[in-house]
Amino acid sequence: MKMVMAVIRPEKLNDVLEALYRAEVTGLTISRVRGHGGETEQVETYRGTTVKVELHDKVRIEIGVSDPFVEPTVRAILSAGRTGDVGDGKIFVLPVEKVYRIRTGEEDRSAVTPVSAEESGV
């Protein structure tokens, strides 16, 4: 089991979600975050006060997946989240010690398998 954590551009979220759904990755959490990864600052001016905005709006996606799903998940984010400019973000794949599904108490692989997939016998 792995935790795939990606930080992407907010305007790419929709494309990434579409790609993930096509890869049959359906269980995920997103949060709006701010960060800095070396892209050029955005300059803004308010009544003669000029500021450089160093922290950019980003979206963080967290996806707990079983090992066979790591590769498709990462590939979906890589292809759909890319614009080619600095600031496209990062993907981190982290080891996961244990996963529980709160509703049923299921553990590990069965806890990260979507309910719909279970029911349809996949």
């Binding site: 551009r9 305007e11 790419k12 929709n14 701010r34 800095h36 600052e41 955005q42 300059v43 803004e44 001016t45 308010y46 003669g48 006060t49 000029t50 500021v51 450089k52 905005v53 160093e54 922290l55 614009t83 400019d85």
Partner: protein, 414 residues
């Protein structure tokens, strides 16, 4: 020379301020319906019309619209507000009349922006609205109100159903087609960033519209009172019918729908305000609802990205209003003309001619202006700029900036 009436002047001073307030209100109405990253850009599209169209109006627009000239356009007699002084125009000072009419030019140009939000670069937009107010608004205002051919033909347009709403909608349609749809249109959900803004803008628009329609009597008169009452009742009827349509279709009454309904009712009553009885106004407002309601539903299924439905609200609403004026006008109330329902079917024919002439001229002239600007400038923001949002890329500001991670570069001290 006719005397200046203090009562008329007092009312028209207030009415002018009320109509001017409608343009910022339109900024809130539109600004609430776009995405947060384009909120300032959308609101600015309305606010800048106050400057760019207003100054164009003073320089030449007013003269082309309201000096004598010919049937198609005025001359330069009032250019730079020359010969526009404190003398009486009707029963109010001439300069007040010119100011009042200027507020109409401003909001008409701003209305168009609803069709091209979230993608048009700002420089070309500024050029467009200034040229449009001179080349399209001023001549059509002249046709109907400035002694031009539609007025002489007997077309009834109390406060601007053709001049303002159908005109702006035809321009909006051309603008949306020439610019093309937003890159995300029909590809992802685009939902309003701040519906309370839209409701707030609607409320202020309605308030201002009493000056728009009531003031179009150009006097504190019984005609103004009739227009005022109709401006109250017609949108009320539209709101009721729209809400019921919403309930029947989706089992829910939406807030954006209510805001749209009120504006559609206001648009529809605009040409008829001083010509029809209050009960006719209620009927007119009610009839306008399904026309615009289903036009919006139909439009959303097409590739036409008229983003904030200028055509469905102002074009359809304005056309319904202009045609029903030709049917429901009552001499007993307006002292001048009857409509088809009261024994004068010819009036409906004149109204049809006025609507068609406005659509054709506005569409063609708008197309020429926007293509000429497009020849010299890039009209559209790049896909990347559209992704980041036009607030940051066009204005260097954010609507909802949190200031985290902002580093002070330079503080101007003067």
């Amino acid at each position: 020379m006719p005397a200046i009436s203090p009562a008329d002047t007092a009312w028209m001073l207030v009415a002018t301020a009320m109509v001017l307030l409608m343009t910022p209100a339109l900024g809130f109405f539109y600004g609430g319906m776009v995405r947060a990253k384009n909120a300032l850009n959308t609101m600015m599209m309305s606010y800048v019309a106050l400057g760019f169209v207003g100054v164009a109006w003073a320089i030449i627009g007013y003269s082309l619209a309201f000096s004598e000239g010919g049937g198609l356009v005025g001359n330069l007699h009032f250019a730079f507000l020359n010969n526009v002084g404190l003398e009486a125009k009707g029963s109010i000072p001439h300069i007040l009349f010119a100011s009042y009419q200027g507020t109409f030019a401003v909001i008409t140009a701003a209305l168009i922006s609803g069709a091209i939000v979230e993608r048009m670069r700002f420089g070309p937009y500024l050029t467009f609205i200034a040229l449009w107010s001179i080349g399209v608004y001023a001549p059509i205002a002249h046709w109907v109100w400035g002694g031009g051919w539609l007025g002489k033909l007997g077309a009834l347009d109390f406060a601007g159903g053709t001049v303002v709403h159908i005109n702006a909608a035809a321009a909006a349609l051309v603008g949306a087609i020439v610019l093309g749809p937003r890159k995300d249109y029909t590809r992802q959900a685009i939902i309003p960033q701040n519906v309370p803004f839209t409701l707030l803008g609607t409320g202020i628009l309605w308030f201002g519209w009493f000056g728009f329609n009531g003031g179009s009597a150009l006097a504190a008169s019984t005609s103004a009172a009739l227009a005022f009452a109709n401006t109250m009742f017609a949108p009320m009827a539209t709101l009721v019918v729209w809400s019921l349509l919403d309930l029947m279709r989706t089992r829910k009454t939406t807030a954006v729908g209510a805001a749209t309904a009120i504006v559609v009712g206001l648009v529809a009553i605009t040409p008829a305000a001083g010509f029809v009885s209050p009960i006719s106004a209620i009927a007119l407002g009610g009839i306008a609802a399904p026309a615009s309601y289903f036009a919006i539903i139909w439009r959303a299924r097409t590739r036409l990205d008229d983003s904030l439905d200028v055509v469905a609200a102002h074009g359809v609403g304005g056309t319904v209003g202009a045609l029903l004026t030709g049917i429901l006008a009552e001499k007993a109330w307006n002292g001048a003309s009857d409509g088809a329902l009261f024994g004068n079917p010819r009036q409906l024919g004149i109204q049809v001619a006025a609507v068609l002439a406005t659509i054709v001229y506005s569409a063609v002239a708008t197309f020429v202006i926007i293509k000429v600007i497009g020849f010299g400038f890039n009209l559209r923001a790049s896909a990347k700029e559209e992704g980041i949002g036009l607030d940051v890329t066009q204005h260097g500001e954010e609507a909802y900036s949190r200031g985290e991670g902002a580093i002070l570069v330079r503080a101007d001290r003067s």
